[in-house]
Symmetry: C2
Subunit: 248 residues, 2 copies
DNA sequence: AAACTTTGACATCGATTGATGTCAATATCC
DNA sequence: GGATATTGACATCAATCGATGTCAAAGTTT
């Protein structure tokens, strides 16, 4: 970065202040770099999501985005930075969709009993997750598989996000089990297990070509929640006759 | 590979059959290459288990094993082949230990009721898994993290092994839920979820420096099994007062 | 001891990659 | 229309890695 003052450098005013070109083809500068950044992120989802992080190069990303390699470093410092940005973006999308669905479920069951509301909340959250990766399986590769194994750059981000999800699950379960730790229960471990069940079910669901069907996966994944809920509240199983009737 | 027949190649017997040197320093040839292979596998566990697969090179493996780079290719075709061998070796160890523990638990509870035996079997299997990665956390990095994300060479092996564990879990659960599919239950999904819970709990346990304690993790992981068992059999929860009493 | 094999340390080669630079063509502002 | 900024295609450079080769020292067999 060289200062380009118009009146400096002794006696030669040959170097003049560079005129800022605010807009090109009608779009301002900031919008253009943002558009290029979006193109790079799209190409990143395609490349990372199909061939995996470690099989992708900067050149491939740029070729996929139809951009020169210089514009890669305009928006991202390295491949890992691009992956982190993509990972954070996908998590933001999932989190937004999840919170919206939980909000709706909360309103719809506000007047009902606690057990029904909790059941509806779990079902809504699981549905969003499964829809999220069914609508674009590349997200599963990025979020559920690659993000975990990348070394200490993305690893800490991924670990942080995973911890956030675990805490979210944990707070959810705390409502499920009122006086849990009095009975020797560690809610953190239970929440970690439930989150792992969700992740693994979703991952294998993608791997097996979305078999079994969406509804079967959702119902059985939810059944694990119901089982824990019923187990610790000492109640009878929830209405499996109504919610677990097989359409197959 | 050039044939070194002592009487061939026209008229020049200059090339003679290479004498086989069966033993050097008292150890025969086969034992020496086997020993070098073991050294490489040890170095692989150290390198892969601490820095991850994609951050390791052939040179590092050879330096760790204090072997020349030529002996790497004597036993393994590529880094991926070495990782596959290590992965298969670790799985073999875990499988052997697990089957042995299940055998003991089976014999100890053969005369008791089914529910107690199933509970003992699950506890024994989980205990072996947790001990396996506590005794050497590098195994967790290799088996639970890296093996999943490697592309189509190890990926298929890892997928196959994962599927085997899922089927083992599934067969275990089939005993838990006698007439499950009649109620719209997909045992495969449940088994996948339980396996994912085990894996994730173990992974996070290593990451968090083995906190909470071994017994707490084991008890709560087992509680998920117990909850599902109790849920589907319609029984009251198992004796949580006896098995879930916190020593902390 | 001679002939041969095995071992170990190191060199070398080709290919790939990240990162930066070059340069002409195009678009914009004065 | 001229000066400048932006864009795009491509070249270049240093570093790394996998894979193979070289060569002398040590060990073994006859």
């Amino acid at each position: 970065m060289k200062k380009n003052n118009s009146v400096s450098d002794g006696d030669q005013p040959a170097i003049r202040a560079p005129r800022a070109v605010p807009s090109l083809k009608g779009v301002p500068m900031a919008a253009r770099v943002a558009q290029r950044r979006t193109l790079l992120l799209d190409a990143a989802l395609e490349a990372f999501g199909t061939r995996g992080y470690h099989a992708v190069t900067v050149r491939e990303i740029c070729a996929g985005a139809r951009l020169s390699e210089r514009y890669f470093y305009e928006s991202f410092k390295s491949l890992e930075a691009l992956f982190s940005a993509l990972y954070l973006q996908l998590n933001e999308q999932l989190k937004t969709a999840t919170l919206a669905a939980l909000m709706v479920a909360q309103l719809k069951t506000a007047s009902g009993p606690d057990r029904e509301r909790i059941d509806a909340l779990a079902r809504a959250g699981l549905r969003v997750l499964l829809e999220f990766i069914r609508d674009d399986p590349r997200r599963a590769r990025v979020m559920l598989i690659d993000a975990i194994s990348i070394s200490h750059g993305v690893g800490r981000i991924s670990g942080q996000i995973t911890r956030e999800y675990a805490e979210l699950t944990q707070r959810f379960i705390e409502q499920l089990f009122p006086n849990a730790d009095a009975r020797g229960i560690d809610i953190g471990v239970i929440a970690t297990g439930l989150l792992g069940a969700n992740i693994h079910i979703a991952t294998q669901w993608v791997r097996d070509g979305f078999r079994p069907s969406f509804e079967v996966v959702l119902r059985n994944n939810l059944a694990i929640y119901q089982a824990l809920s019923a187990f610790w509240s000492g109640l009878q199983p929830l209405d499996t006759a109504a919610s677990a009737k097989p359409p197959v």
